[in-house]
């Protein structure tokens, strides 16, 4: 039985919007030319592939449902209360393999000592074997290194095989599209003679798929990133956090975009008292320190939720509302910059001949704004979207740390860091939760940064900072 969260709905709305914009932009030369420039850049294309993988995971994690409970009678369908996503089903292995408590990455023994009863009835304090870590081994001390190496090489080979198939498939489709023979297409790809930097795409795909295969092969027998305090697999948490990061990074911009565009264009186009009011509005909002406004709003949301606890069917729904609310608040604190830019641009554009001509013909104001101003500020909007993304992903972690971010029950990198931080005092230290969260966040943010740099350079080389 499917369940649709508000953020799920908005994500797919956004996806639909992006696809629609893609087909709209394909016909517009002034949008196509900069994208051609982006496609030529190797770093941008590598980042795009990485982002693509992240987005795929995020989308899989955005289709939720109540799983069916297996019953003998087929007549009646019973659904469990639990809400799972497609990603949960794919990662069933990771999700269900829970240990008792901490365990290090690739370990076979638990992190902390326990009383163990031996066969001869004596009790000793020792590190117990993990339930799911290194189960196939008899003597983990001596065998585990060899086993790990074996699994890594196996994963590597599988990765090579799978990526070879995928890359060949891409080249095959490409050769059909450009009506050339397979060999010529391959040669042109390798020599980088196309408009798109296929070589970078292939290499990145190769690396990603090999990494995925190695991790898959290792996680059959180990916890690749260890387990956390309650024994949950850290890799699973990190993968689940991808959706939260993407939601914060994209929905925030989606939420603020209509306000910023409408207000910015209106202020610049009409000038006069409308301009004054809008300027007053955004100066007031931007003068409140962002973190404090977020803190105040989240506090108030907490009061609201605790006083209206009955309105929510499940913890997940409550957490989802908080996530959406966080996006809205972040949007409110960050729309002012874009609004200011659009106002300045509209002030310039309204004096240009074609706008004057449209006015002289008696075209209605909203039509002038929609038909003549909006398409000419689209590049600023696009740059703002991609530039904001990485900052928002990083902001989520910080906000979750001071407990004004996402709900504590939501998987997010910020929550992972927050809960792992207290364990830094342990000896030996528990570093893997932190490491996993930071690595995933770093890859996503770096890819987003590199990609947004390329987009910005392509669309407006002079607009370097705003």
């Amino acid at each position: 039985m499917p369940v649709i969260f508000i953020t799920d709905f908005l994500i797919f709305l956004l996806l639909f919007g992006v696809i629609a914009f893609f087909f709209y932009g394909r016909k517009q030369e002034h949008l196509r030319a900069p994208w051609r420039d982006v496609r030529k850049r190797s770093l941008a294309m590598s980042s795009a592939v990485i982002l693509f993988f992240f987005v795929c995971i995020g989308l899989f994690d955005s289709i939720h449902f109540h799983p069916k409970i297996e019953t003998d009678e087929s007549s009646e369908k019973i659904y469990s209360n639990e809400i799972l996503s497609i990603l949960d089903m794919l990662l069933n292995d990771l999700r269900l393999k829970n240990e008792k408590t901490y365990s290090a990455p690739l370990a076979s023994y638990s992190f902390s000592r326990e009383m163990i009863e031996q066969e001869n009835g004596k009790q000793i304090r020792a590190y117990p074997r993990l339930i799911y870590g290194g189960t196939s081994l008899n003597k983990p001390e001596s065998e585990s290194t060899a086993d790990i190496v074996k699994r890594i090489s196996l994963g590597f080979l599988y990765g090579l095989l799978i990526s070879a198939i995928i890359i060949n498939l891409i080249i095959f489709v490409l050769s059909k599209l450009i009506r050339a023979s397979y060999g010529v297409t391959l040669q042109n790809c390798l020599l980088n003679k196309f408009n798109t930097h296929w070589l970078a795409i292939f290499i990145t795909t190769l690396i990603i798929i090999i990494t995925i295969c190695i991790i898959c092969s290792l996680s059959q027998n180990y916890h690749v990133f260890g387990t956390d305090k309650v024994g949950q697999d850290v890799l699973y948490q990190a993968l689940k956090s991808i959706r939260t990061g993407l939601v914060i990074g994209t929905l925030t911009t989606l939420v603020m975009l209509p306000f910023a565009i409408v207000m910015g264009l209106m202020a610049g186009y009409f000038r006069g008292w409308i301009d004054d009011v809008i300027q007053y509005l955004y100066t007031t909002l931007s003068s409140i320190p962002g973190v404090l406004l977020i803190a105040a709003s989240i506090l108030l949301l907490q009061v609201y939720i605790s006083n209206h606890a009955d309105d929510f069917n499940s913890i997940e729904q409550r957490a989802d509302l908080r996530l959406l609310f966080l996006c809205i608040i972040l949007g409110i604190t960050s729309w002012t910059g874009l609004c200011r830019l659009l106002r300045a641009e509209a002030l310039k554009l309204r004096e240009i001949d074609y706008v004057q001509a449209a006015q002289a013909f008696g075209v209605q104001h909203y039509k002038v704004m929609f038909r003549h101003l909006l398409p000419n500020v689209m590049h600023i909007v696009m740059i703002a979207i991609v530039l904001d993304f990485s900052g928002l992903v990083l902001a989520e972690a910080v906000l979750s740390y001071i407990n004004i971010g996402v709900d504590p029950s939501t998987y997010s990198w910020g929550n992972m860091i927050n809960s792992a931080r207290l364990e830094m005092a342990r000896e030996p230290i528990v570093w893997w939760s932190l490491a996993a969260a930071f690595i995933f966040m770093f890859i996503l943010v770096l890819a987003a940064n590199l990609f947004s740099d390329a987009v910005r350079d392509a669309f407006d080389p002079r607009l370097r900072e705003f």
Partner: protein, 325 residues
């Protein structure tokens, strides 16, 4: 000049009134004092008398906007809006929900905040400008390209990583300075080093890159070409012309945040257990002390608006093309 400053201050008043109304609406209208009392006293099973008592103790027992039960001007003054929001204009912050004087706490706690933020700002400025200038000097070469790549990588690392990593490496592993804490007087020095250093490293990526573009933009201008054509050496062009002109956007960007230095950094202070205004706010957030959060929101906005006014004034000093009026 004085009339200009006065006019700017008068312009700032409506904005402050706007901020005040926003905070008032957030804290007293969206959630009524009854909601707050319930939240503090424990959800549902709480008697009406306990709520009234909680509100009495904190002065939330008045009507929100208009008190019809009393006479004359008291109709307006004996209200939550006047007592708790309007009084902020004269920096009368009132008492926190736990009964402490907020104004006194702020005056005590701003010094540790300043001890962190002021050195961070100035050392950072010096370092970032130097790095930016070096990269601009070697523009297009391997030094520049690798420097920019390094900047992007450092930008992509979460600030939390720098804090946790710095605490572990310097505090716990090398035992050079205490991991966290604070002391009075000169003893505070050893507690300040680590936060300042961490803040410095955390900001390198974004700031260096930004300063580099500022300098590069200056370098493409005509006066630089003229200076080179005159036969000035590259270092003289760089220091005498590019640096001084590039400093204009940098300094005016710094002036905006100068007043906000009082507030301190929320994250750094709470990680390093510095008893400044940042950790004060964080504590208030986790204790759900609305009075403190409200005061800090207002104080933060006031300081930001002062920063904006200072920026406009400083423009007239550093850039003679900008005229008042």
């Amino acid at each position: 000049m004085i009339s200009y400053i006065l006019r700017r201050i008068i312009y700032a008043l409506p904005i402050l009134i706007g901020v005040n109304i926003i905070t008032f609406v957030l804290f007293f209208v969206v959630n009524t004092p009854d909601d707050m009392a319930r939240m503090h006293l424990g959800m549902k099973r709480v008697s009406e008398a306990a709520i009234v008592k909680w509100k009495d103790e904190r002065g939330y027992n008045k009507p929100i906007l208009f008190n019809s039960g009393v006479d004359g001007t008291k109709k307006i003054t004996e209200t939550i809006f006047f007592q708790n929001s309007v009084k902020l204009f004269v920096f009368d912050f009132g008492r926190s929900d736990s009964g402490r004087d907020i104004g006194y706490d702020i005056s005590q706690r701003m010094w540790p905040s300043l001890a962190i933020t002021v050195p961070s700002l100035f050392i950072g400025l010096l370092a970032y400008i130097s790095f930016g200038l070096i990269l601009a000097f070697f523009r297009g070469s391997y030094v520049d390209v690798s420097g920019v790549i390094l900047c992007v990588i450092m930008m992509s690392i979460s600030g939390l990583f720098y804090i946790i990593g710095g605490q572990y490496l310097i505090g716990k592993f090398l035992h050079l300075v205490p991991i966290s804490g604070y002391d009075t007087g000169l003893n505070a020095f050893k507690f300040i080093i680590l936060p300042v250093l961490v803040g410095l490293i955390g900001g390198i990526g974004a700031s260096t890159r930004w300063y580099r573009t500022i300098f590069l933009e200056e370098m493409n201008k005509d006066y630089v070409r003229t200076a080179r054509a005159k036969g000035l050496s590259e270092s003289r062009v760089l220091y005498r012309h590019v640096l001084t002109n590039g400093l204009i956007p940098i300094l005016t960007g710094v002036v905006v945040i100068l007043p906000s230095l009082f507030i301190g950094s929320l994250i750094v202070e709470s990680f390093f257990a510095i008893p400044g205004l940042g950790s004060y706010t964080i504590d208030a957030i986790s204790r759900q002390d609305f009075a403190i959060v409200r005061s800090m929101v207002f104080l933060g906005s006031v300081l930001y608006i002062i920063g904006l006014i200072l920026t406009d004034i400083s423009y007239t000093f550093v850039d003679p093309r900008v005229r008042l009026n």
